[in-house]
Symmetry: C2
Subunit: 320 residues, 2 copies
Amino acid sequence: MTLILALDFGGTKLAAAIANLDSREWLRYERHFSPVNADANTDLKIMRSLIHSLIQGVTPSAIGVSFGGPVDAITGKVRLSHHVAGWENIPLKDLLEQEFSIPTVVDNDANIAALGEYRFGAGQGHDSLFYITISTGVGGGWILNGKPWRGAAGMAGEIGHTVVDPCGPVCLCGKRGCVERLASGPYMAKDAREFLLNESDKIEANQGQILRSLVNNNLDLITGKVVSEAASQRDELALNILYKSAWALGVGIGNVANLINPQQFVLGGSVTKAGKNWWSVVQKTARETALPEVNFEIIPAMLGDDAPLWGAVALAESVL
Amino acid sequence: MTLILALDFGGTKLAAAIANLDSREWLRYERHFSPVNADANTDLKIMRSLIHSLIQGVTPSAIGVSFGGPVDAITGKVRLSHHVAGWENIPLKDLLEQEFSIPTVVDNDANIAALGEYRFGAGQGHDSLFYITISTGVGGGWILNGKPWRGAAGMAGEIGHTVVDPCGPVCLCGKRGCVERLASGPYMAKDAREFLLNESDKIEANQGQILRSLVNNNLDLITGKVVSEAASQRDELALNILYKSAWALGVGIGNVANLINPQQFVLGGSVTKAGKNWWSVVQKTARETALPEVNFEIIPAMLGDDAPLWGAVALAESVL
């Protein structure tokens, strides 16, 4: 029996679990939301207590760690977190190895989720795949030749910041028409909100009325999920915004297919729950964007919220 | 002394050469233009005679072959040529191995040129690079982890058919605003020609006058090279078209950098001779399109017209 300790430092929650390498079920599992004003120290303190409660009486052979932000996977050093303060240049691998005397590997959540889906989820048997998460942001992780491809400096996978519409709206990154600017949940919500605020005089029947009623006219309550819900009720504004999201992702995927020709795209994250219509626009646009000879399939991720933990198990195999 | 026979089946010419594996100079070199109405049979016949004249008195240890069209690199079977008829499903590797009893490897010209630049040219020492040729078309070849990455079905590298401007003009592939539609030589020439034909009433001073004079008002003579020349003489129309070419390629490169994070981009092909201004727009646009943390360099190819032959030498090493 080879036990693996899997850790997930997410932006808003911390999770830890232990599994036998040959099992697809957790032996033990602990989870804790980050407190308000969390920083690297509080995150580490909470994670320590989760670990100590998990490893009572057992000795894991390796620790695999998913971190929600840029990481140097070779040194196991965190570069920073976009959500939690104080994570700049923290040598997470070294800290854990010193404290628990167990070989440890660290990678960012998109690479880890890609590895998890490849080993245990939707991507099994596909030696080249691109995992994309479409949620608060849009990011991705590569499996090429059956191994993670992280890029020359660990920056590969940023499909969210590829440009698909140079005349589109401005993204936080400064460019116009990035996939993330059009496809992510918060930006869909923002576009809906701003349209309703600024162009209410131009609004025709069915444009935003359902959306308004879903949030009782409190536009601050609009989220990506609310936009999806309004679209499913045929709100024209929501349908347009959701179409643009799926279209942008589809162009991005088609471009990636032409560039790298992976067998498979695995899509996870909250926006992928937007319904059949969103999926069919993604599929159709990707198919039209890729050359006719370039084949691929686009399928939903299978591991859900546990993808980083299962990916961490898969990553830990590499140090056994 | 290990001799390699390198063959290049181009769209308009055939070349063959022999080199010692440790040398960077050809021992013997033969070249022949394809006849008008060339087909696969005439190409093979000419190549056979080049080979026989080259290998008199010597026995190469391996044959490396560059083919100007899609190839299944595993079986060495040509899928087709976009330029020469009759190449559909020709088992080129098997034909050559049967005839010459020498181990043979075949790959398409973009993959081979990438390998050539990596082993012997501009890309030496860079284990992840993307080679792009910008000429009649726009294509590319990958080196990842020091090896060619061809994609799940050998279709990787098609940066020419990634979309950078969905409102742009229609490409032969059916999509709008592909990199090839904006950046390749023939399309630059076409855009110049059509502007001069259709919008001559709107033309202001310096818009196309130099271009017209360079071809003595015979617009059919405009080529990508003529557009570059007119731009270097400050013709405003030519400057705009050349800017758009460099911009489209720069967006494409920046997108690739975000997706794959290679160390280096190596650019070859006739359009890269367009001058400093073209290069600086490519560099600037790629830099702006990539995320600030994503670093790379963009440099000119070194091997010129011999890139496919040197790449074929590098490829042949794999069967020694």
